[in-house]
Symmetry: C2
Subunit: 773 residues, 2 copies
């Protein structure tokens, strides 16, 4: 846990240069626009600790996996997002000295991520070994308006000298992924070009053959006036630059504007991609830095209009939640159904930028409530488009007849993960993908989605579940053997309650979906079942039998569901009994010890009670929460949010707040000592959930918005904005009342604390709440 980030409601501020935390700062100061992302690296040369990172969405490399003991069915490749050409670099040489913050004294350093307006700013005075003092101010952003473009304003001012200063803006494609398994280079050079103040480099990924063209152009101003300069082109292997030497006087500001674009062959013909980069660069440089920045600020203002959460009375919390919202918006914009959300977004390499069940289980509700409906829809369509590969994947594991098993980790629909207990057994991911369809339809009311895409996915997943259970003669019930639940601190267990429950639920929902699609569009239904050889009567009969006879372990005495069969044989004890210095247990205990302990990595039974809370009474949820919560170590950042939401639901406000705090500033405070690898993007959605579904009590029931908000004692007020079926609402809750304001023309029927109200367009409604819970 670290405390060097200055608290501020709208900015992430590093005051004074923290060498030792530089990689952490680089992670949290990352910029992105859904199309590409750039870590908070320095423009000028830096020989200290740094993880240079520019990641272009959807461009991946099948890195050879590292495996100890091979198992049939393992993938040979782990697709990972590539560290692409460095587009921000500007080397500064003052006579015989290079500007390098690792080699000089740094004064008045300040690095600020402005989340309100979407840019990164940095200022400092460098005192070189020669005694020369140079003032530097830089500002840059990844444009969300021109989403392939970035722009930099880099200003230098000699404070105590006159000198010739050489500026070398460059593009460098000779970069590697730090997480490469065999330290291979992933890029080949295709072409490079330089012109007056401009340069281009086109690289192609090995094996996958993606092209990425990166271009830059440069303008120089002195005393606020554009200057002509002599530009010397430089080319090396995978490197292009322009070198220019300027006379700089003491006190005179020299500004270099560097415009860059990153185009990928996902969107352009490889034959003409470098030419397209030319055009694109011309267009944005003509627009100019100030105009681009103004558009950026406007676009972010629009986002905040529908996204913001305002916490009154707690700057740290305010900063934390805005940071989460900001990063989620930088990571995924929903413009492109081929893209998804990596656990680290564009802020680092870990987890290879691949898609996990995090998307469906944690991120989807954020985008459902804060963005246009198509954004969430595109997250679902992403899986729909990968259905073929999920069927392939299931076939590799011995399943038949169109059964689908979605991968645990993927970039392109193929499985990327190689641990049998996860790859083959953590199959509950399939349930989350089905649940996301339900969640989307419930929130949006868009039943047509089932007709167009959803039912086909549901049937394929249901076919998987139907084959994955087997009839136990001993129990006279269907059992599901050899699975790993969300609690990965148990492997290869029998009858994991969560997995079996979500399997049976998928089957139930598929039956409903069949009926919905039949009634909405009988013709399309007929087409579909013909195409996928769905024998409705027979398959649905099997499904009904399984629903009826699925074994769900429980303990009648305690009135709880059992995480898995045999859970009560463990030596049960609370987390507080773990000896000091042995947490997190995954860093101190051998795997077998973790497995046979009762300790839970992340919500498992409780994850199920969260998803399906309307199928259980409050007492049941309460008993299970009381049983499992004390044994949960939350060693996944995705765990506390679920506990927080349930605690809010159960009126356990202190517990809800405690759980909220565990991830609210996870990256800003480097809580887990790993922010240097990148930010925990998907768990940010979890924190948002803890606020909106937890404190805000947001639900959708029977097409109606339901709100049961309260303001944590620690805050004066909490306000959040959501979109719901065309309306834009703000829910403000203080210690004494709740106000719902409708900013849209669209009337909304909703329930606030059990009271049904029709909230007209452009109106607000206030409900008094008692101060006591």
């Amino acid at each position: 846990m670290k405390n060097y980030i200055t608290q501020d409601p709208w900015c992430i501020i590093e005051d004074g240069f923290h060498h030792q935390y530089n990689e952490i700062s680089e992670s949290v100061m990352s910029l992105g626009n859904g199309r590409f992302g750039q870590r908070g690296n320095f423009e000028e040369k830096f020989t200290g600790r740094t993880l240079q990172g520019n990641y272009v969405a959807g461009v991946y490399y099948p890195d050879k996996t590292r495996v100890g003991w091979w198992k049939n069915g393992y993938p040979e490749y782990f697709a990972k997002v590539l560290n692409a050409a460095n587009w921000i670099g500007i080397d500064i040489d003052i006579e015989y000295e290079s500007l390098d913050l690792n080699q000089c004294e740094v004064r008045n350093f300040r690095r600020v991520l402005n989340m309100q307006e979407g840019y990164l700013e940095r200022s400092f005075v460098a005192v070189l070994k020669s005694g020369k003092e140079l003032q530097v101010n830089s500002k840059r952003f990844c444009s969300i308006v021109d989403d392939e473009a970035g722009a930099i304003r880099y200003a230098i001012k000699p404070l105590n000298f006159d000198a010739k200063i050489t500026l070398t803006p460059y593009l460098d494609g000779a970069i590697r992924n730090r997480d490469a398994n065999y330290d291979e280079t992933f890029w080949d050079e295709v072409r490079k070009e330089t012109g007056y103040g401009e340069a281009f480099i086109e690289l192609r990924t090995r094996k996958t053959g993606f092209h990425v063209a990166t271009g830059m152009c440069v303008e120089i101003e002195q005393d606020g006036v554009k200057v002509d300069y002599q530009s010397q082109p430089i080319k090396h292997e995978k490197y292009v630059a322009n070198r220019m030497t300027l006379d700089c006087r003491q006190g005179q500001e020299t500004v270099i504007y560097k415009y860059a674009v990153n185009l990928s062959s996902l969107n352009y013909d490889p034959d003409t991609i470098t030419k397209e980069a030319h055009y694109s660069l011309q267009r944005i440089s003509r627009k100019g830095f100030d105009k681009m920045l103004f558009e950026q600020m406007q676009a972010w203002a629009d986002k905040w209009k529908t996204n913001d959460i305002i916490i009154d009375g707690d700057v740290a919390a305010q900063q934390g939640i805005r940071f989460n919202i900001f990063q989620l918006n930088q990571t995924y914009t929903g413009e492109d159904e081929r893209l998804n959300i990596g656990p680290k977004g564009f802020t680092g390499e870990k987890y290879g930028g691949s898609t996990y069940w995090d998307t469906e289980a944690y991120c989807l509700p954020f985008y459902l409530s804060t963005a246009d409906q198509k954004v969430a829809k595109n997250l679902l369509v992403y899986r729909f488009k990968q259905l073929g590969k999920a069927v392939e994947n299931a076939k590799k594991l011995g399943f038949r007849a169109g059964a689908a098993l979605y991968p645990m980790v993927t970039m392109n629909g193929e499985e990327s993960h190689n641990e049998w207990e996860i790859t083959f057994e953590e199959i509950h991911r399939n349930g989350a993908i089905a649940y996301a369809i339900y969640d989307y339809v419930r929130y949006t009311g868009d039943k047509q989605y089932l007709v167009d895409y959803g039912l086909e996915v549901l049937i394929a997943i249901s076919r998987f579940w139907s084959q994955r259970v087997n009839w136990s003669q001993a129990k006279q019930q269907y059992v599901m053997l050899g699975v790993t639940g969300p609690n990965e601190y148990e492997n290869n267990v029998n009858n994991n309650w969560y997995t079996s429950y979500i399997a049976a639920w998928t089957l139930r929902y598929t039956i409903q979906a069949v009926e919905i699609v039949k009634s909405l569009d009988a013709e399309k239904y007929a087409e579909l079942i013909d195409r996928i050889h769905f024998r409705e009567e027979k398959e649905m009969a099997t499904v009904r039998q399984i629903i009826d006879k699925i074994y769900l372990p429980q303990d009648d005495e305690r009135g709880i569901f059992l995480q898995q069969e045999g859970f009560l044989d463990k030596d049960l004890m609370p987390v507080s009994d773990i000896p000091k210095g042995q947490r997190p247990i995954n860093q101190h205990w051998s795997w077998d010890r973790i497995l046979r302990s009762c300790f839970i990595k992340q919500a498992d039974v409780l994850q199920g009670l969260y998803f399906f809370e309307d199928e259980f009474d409050t007492d049941t949820i309460q008993r299970n929460f009381a049983f499992y919560e004390p044994m949960t170590v939350h060693e996944s950042s995705l765990s506390p949010c679920v506990h927080s939401i349930l605690a809010s639901r159960l009126g356990m406000r202190d517990k809800a707040y405690e759980m909220y705090l565990r991830t609210a500033r996870l990256d800003l405070d480097d809580y887990n000592n790993d922010t240097e690898d990148g930010c925990h993007i998907t768990s940010m959605a979890g924190t948002w959930l803890a606020v909106v579904k937890g404190f805000g009590g947001l639900r959708v029931e029977n097409d109606q918005l339901v709100l049961n908000p309260y303001c944590p004692d620690q805050w004066q007020s909490l306000a959040f904005k959501i979109r719901f079926r065309g309306a834009l609402l703000q829910i403000t809750t203080t210690q004494s009342d709740v106000t719902v304001q409708n900013f849209s023309a669209q009337p909304v029927l909703l329930q606030v604390h059990g009271e049904e109200t029709l909230l007209k367009g452009q109106s607000k409604h206030t409900v008094k709440t008692s101060v006591d819970a």
Copy 2:
């Protein structure tokens, strides 16, 4: 399955050169003497398929392991036996042509492993591209008398030409292990020397710093007369040779004798090891090839005198069993307590030459019955000496107070394996190590072993078991969670019957051993318990409680033990239901499918019933056999022998024979398509067990030898030799009677088919048996 090896009672014969099977032939034709071993490679250059292999016992390298997903407690290194300098090489050049069986026509090729006398012989005519025909006869052996020495007689005869022929005997240390994880070189050169007709190379292993000095000297004969020759020394990186060119006339035989030694720093001071190699080489070359070979033949004759099994009426079976006995004797001689038995012996690199539980569970009885008592004892002392590391290992996994967990795979006592479900959970190995102590004491009557070594190991293992179980509130019994039994087609199960049973048995035997040691040597006992802080009363009280309350899953209805809790939830079906083309399942099914199937890799409950058969009645064994045998796929070569022994015991002679056949000629017929990697040395001991404990019905009960032999219907007679407490016996069984012959002076009290007899020295005793079983 292949059939190219010619059947013969004493020899392994390849008639005609089988290029495509060359690596298989190299494996089965391996020579060894317990100190080093050499695959059946060619002396002359060969550019075809070959795995060159010379392995020096106890010299290992800690190869960096390859791991996908790291877990706490994993070892970073996998110790593996090294492929050492090639000592057999003799290049033959005839004017401008090299002799290379991959580049010429080969006529009358014959490669013969003579098991009776312990040498490898090869003869062929090579027709070179120039039309020259060269007759070659070679013979070589690894001396079991001079156990660091090998000798080669290599004779060439031009059949249709006169020519200058260049002979280049060499030592080549520029070799790699084929199984290296990162293709590293494991050796550094320390020094090399050449002299007249001699050469030395001393290599040192990286990281571990073992020195191995390899030396050679050469003599030449023409027309049966030693000739002087000009010798040109050659040195390259890690390579030394002598080149000599001789005039060879048509029809004239030129013979090169190459003597070689391999000395390791396990036995010599590295400072003088090359000098020692000089002395050693002088000594053996003075002795000469013929004398050495004569001594070799005598030594093998002595071995066969106490080892042989004679099968009358089935040459294939005769060849198979002798091959097994021969290879087991080549692999381990029991001279050195620092050595053990790798699953491939000196015949290949797979499994790194490391020690597995195979030694205790399968190999020990072979050496107990066929060799001096000290041989088996040294196998036990090997583990005793590694007790400290086993305690360390347990500590890494969170165990305390002197608890020991022996490694699954090891060279030096440290764990070498990195699969959590095996490394951390296949803990039954600890039980086998305890059982081996019991087995040894039962067979030899050497209770002093318990005093000197055994009890300390037993207490440490019992401490492990005591901590590894936990009290289940739900069951009100002790449970053992998260283990993998011998059936590795189940992972991380709860209450594996075999593991829990052998754990409880260890505790019981430890109680007995405490009493034995106390009564034999109270003083030593006092010393021991003081040294290891054994609080007898308290620890034994815990042990008694666990013995009393251990949970052993069973099914009362079927009257069987359950392999693990929940076994009956599986979809039970016989192996015969596996669709055609899907076996072995480990090559066709994904791991999860294998795990949740009912199919068993190797005897698990049945392994326990074999070990502890005197604790169960025949009906119980029968019921369990009938239940588990049909579900067993025997995808471990260690499985069929246990089934065969139990089937013999149950009078199921056809089944016993069927199971015997599955491994009897495993390597000779390349049954599993993997003999090219090396021979299945440890499973050879299993086949021997199937004969001697199965067909022979050998047991030791209450210090008495018990025999219930029968001769399989397919054979006329079966005779095997065993040692028992100083006596040497031969048991011969035909379809009608059993004869026990005592070759020693020592009288033996024994039971044959239930009839007690005192067999005097140098006498025999015959018992009639009915022809029907």
